[in-house]
Amino acid sequence: MLRYTLKRLLSLSVSLLVASIIIFLAIEVVPGDPASYMLGINAQPDTIAALREELGLNVSAVERYVNWVSGMLTGNFGTSYTYRTPVVDMIGDRMWISLPLALYALLLSTLIAFPAGILAASKRGSVADTLVMGITQLGVAIPNFWFAMLMVLVFAINLRWFSAGGFPGWDGGFWLAVKALTLPAVSLALPQASILARVMRSALLDTLGEDFVRSARAKGLNRRQALWRHALRNAMIPVLTIIGLQFSFLLAGAIIIENVFFLPGLGRLVFQSISQRDLIVVESVVMLLVFAVVIVNFSVDIAYALVDPRLRRRS
């Protein structure tokens, strides 16, 4: 298990290195000089040169890459070209919205999907199964921003249970903040839960057809016991894979939902930075998202090994 973990850690580091090079190169080839963009079209050449010097744009690409990476390692992400504030502060503020939102949505999606998927699989062909399959079909088909608007209409405008958007900050009280994140989290979670429930159902049905479930029944276990004690854990591998992918998406892919609910999260930050050519912010946020995705994948790999003893030894 230790060997397996070390191997996964090694592959995690390699992924991060490769990702940092790709991100850096991608930003390099984008046309447009941040210094001239910041100073506008009427700027004097020597002012631009001075600003380039100040921003550290005059040195070679390799040196800039090394400066960028070593800066990130020491917590210095550089200074935003447009706002002239440290990037690390900008990201820090927004992280406290995007990360809790992603976790909240993931929690909701799992809490909905597991019981629904297990119920549908254990009563295959029943009314419950048909209902779960029908509803999840809708959930997969309907885009989450449309859900979001629908929920604003019902719960914020008509019922007035929640506010339609904005975020009061964590200083204003934990529950107030959670309340503000609830509608966005639900609208993010519903499509994800639909996918996850369907995956859970089909993985479980596959496992229920396996020979070892029949062996368990021959030992005297009833259907329920065979499902809970033997099938469920074996069905977890595909489910964990989907959960990992979904978390990555929730963290980075919430741009539209953040816009619908006026949440100042990471998605909106990237969106704004790209349009303002604030490349250093884009670079850093993208790298941070990559880091999060890689960490999530690492955790999923570790979870695989916890679920399946065959993976522990193979490394």
């Binding site: 396996e210 020979d211 070892f212 029949r214 062996s215 368990a216 029944r217 021959a218 030992k219 005297g220 276990l221 009833n222 016991q225 004690r229 033997h230 854990r233 074996n234 679920v307 399946d308 003893p309 065959r310 030894r313 193979r314 490394s315």
Partner: protein, 537 residues
């Protein structure tokens, strides 16, 4: 009254009758062999006793265990019986165990489900039971996982789960079909010992007459959902009143008529010299080269034109690797493989002109065809080896000829593969191999998945084709009786090496190597009818 009495059992699944008026019984300490080909209903009879039938099943009649009709019991009452009074062992040991639970937990679960035993107590019983199935504690601690065990060892764990509570009746559904012959012999011996020790009744289901006749006290022969004959194992094979029993018996020991191959030329068709094949194992260190596993080790042999050569060995002996090397599917690390004096590989490329001279027929008649193509197209697949494949009418003619030569009809070319039975599919596989008129056909367990009567037909077909077209066969099988019936010479392979080689009759009658002797001793044998008659007189 018998311990288990099956009376006029009828089973239908979604209205389709599966079993009709099945009646037989088991007494304590008795082994009853249930024999039949696929679709005979032998497994469904077992599942009826366990009440583990597929959805949509309806049963009538009676299955009495100690007088109680199991068909009248509720699912809850059946759960209490399964694993306690009724144990069951399945065919496929590789998948019958839960891969994520230790063997100790899986055996102990049988105890915990039925007795209010503590975890420690149930693990103690699990340990005792694993000892009883000859998995000693020092090599097989309770914490082992199924993937750390071989097929035979897993089957022992499955048996341990079934007998942990010393059930009155044990049902074993093809318990040794997936195992090698020496492992099979050990598992059968174990089952016999457990029956004697616990005075248990054993229902042994098998398609293999020889396996059952070795072990059983009573034999039940089934066909298309009905029992056609029952009788004592000692007398059944002499009397054999039902024609189907006779047919089954004859098919099991069928030897096809083969013309003496006399047209052999001096030059060998296939010459394998000093061939070795290594596989890289996972690295143990970042810097050292990965360790190697030598699957085939310095193997040399040759096949003459028109000869039929058998290659026997147990799983993992390297026979499949050797086959892949001969077919040019994998490169070898050492040695040469020549067809008609020309190497199969030139550089790292397989030579097409050489590859045309050989074709292969695989074991699985279900997995070796693309289900979305028509048979005519499937049969034409080897044409890509030809520089100028026939087109239009010539192509249709070639397909018709190939199909007719294996006893099928030209019109069958327009059908899809799912419209054919296993035996017919294997005929199509042979037609596919024949269509480019190869010299050598490699038959990789080509009849192993077939029922005995179908197997006999395919063996006859192979013998006939060999006579008509002067074909050369490399016949790879774990089944000694089949190899004996169709080959002139035989190679015995063990751990990557050929340990014995000689004329088939000579090797079987007088094996020299200890391994060959153990293989032949382990192979179950059909009772000799003549011999039996003499004994009974």
């Amino acid at each position: 009254m018998s311990l288990l009495q099956i009376d006029q059992l009828n089973l239908a699944i979604h209205g389709t009758p599966i079993l009709r008026d099945v009646s037989f019984h088991l007494d304590a300490g008795q082994i009853v062999g249930v024999i039949g080909e696929s679709g005979s209903g032998k497994s469904m009879t077992a599942y009826s006793v366990m009440q583990l039938l597929p959805e949509g099943s309806t049963t009538t009649g009676a299955i009495r265990l100690n007088g109680d009709n199991l068909l009248d019991l509720s699912e809850e009452q059946m759960c209490a019986l399964r694993g306690d009074e009724l144990g069951m062992v399945f065919q496929e040991p590789m998948t019958a165990l839960n891969p994520v639970k230790s063997i100790g937990d899986q055996v102990a679960e049988t105890v915990r489900i039925h007795r209010k035993a503590s975890r420690a107590e149930s693990l103690r019983i699990a340990r005792e039971t694993l000892d009883r199935v000859e998995l000693p504690a020092d090599r097989f601690p309770l914490s082992r996982f199924p993937h750390e065990l071989s097929g035979g060892q897993r089957q022992r764990v499955v048996i341990a789960m079934a007998i942990a509570l010393r059930p009155k009746v044990l049902i074993a559904d093809e318990p040794t079909t997936a195992l090698d012959v020496t492992t099979q012999a050990q598992i059968l011996k174990l089952l016999r010992r457990l029956v004697r020790e616990d005075n248990m009744a054993l229902m042994l289901i098998s398609h293999d007459l020889a396996v059952v006749s070795d072990l059983a006290d009573e034999i039940v022969i089934m066909k298309s959902g009905t029992v056609v004959e029952t009788g004592s194992a000692k007398t059944l094979f002499q009397s054999m009143t039902h024609p189907y029993t006779k047919k089954l018996f004859e098919a099991s020991s069928h030897v096809p008529d083969r013309a003496e191959a006399e047209s052999r030329t001096a030059a060998p068709l296939l010459k394998v010299s000093h061939v070795s094949r290594d596989y890289a194992l996972p690295r143990t260190s970042l810097f050292a080269p990965p360790p190697k596993f030598r699957a085939v080790n310095d193997v040399s042999f040759q096949i003459q034109q028109g000869e039929s050569l058998g290659l026997v060995g147990e799983s993992g002996c390297g026979k499949s690797t050797l086959t892949r090397a001969i077919l040019g599917l994998e490169e070898v690390q050492e040695g040469t493989i020549l067809i008609d004096g020309v190497p199969v590989f030139s550089g790292h490329q397989v030579r097409r002109d050489i590859r045309q001279k050989m074709q292969v027929v695989f074991q699985d008649p279900y997995g070796s065809f693309n289900p979305r193509h028509r048979v005519a197209r499937l049969v034409c697949e080897p044409f890509h080896l030809l520089d100028r494949p026939p087109r239009g009418a010539a192509r249709a003619e070639a397909v018709a000829e190939a199909l007719e030569s294996v006893g099928l009809d030209e019109a069958d070319g327009r059908k899809y593969i799912h419209e054919f039975s296993g035996g017919q599919r294997q005929r199509i596989a042979i037609a596919r191999a024949l269509i480019i008129k190869p010299k050598l056909i490699v038959l990789d367990e080509a009849v192993s998945a077939l029922d005995v009567s179908i197997r006999a037909q395919i063996l006859d077909l192979l013998a006939d084709l060999s006579d008509r077209f002067g074909l050369t066969y490399l016949f790879i099988s774990h089944d000694l009786s089949v190899v004996r019936s169709i080959t002139d010479r035989v190679l015995v392979m063990k751990a990557g090496q050929i340990v014995e080689e000689g004329r088939t009759d000579a090797v079987f009658d007088n094996p020299q190597h200890a391994y060959t002797q153990s293989l032949i001793a382990a192979a179950p044998r059909l009772p000799d009818r003549q011999e039996q008659k003499e004994v009974s007189q």
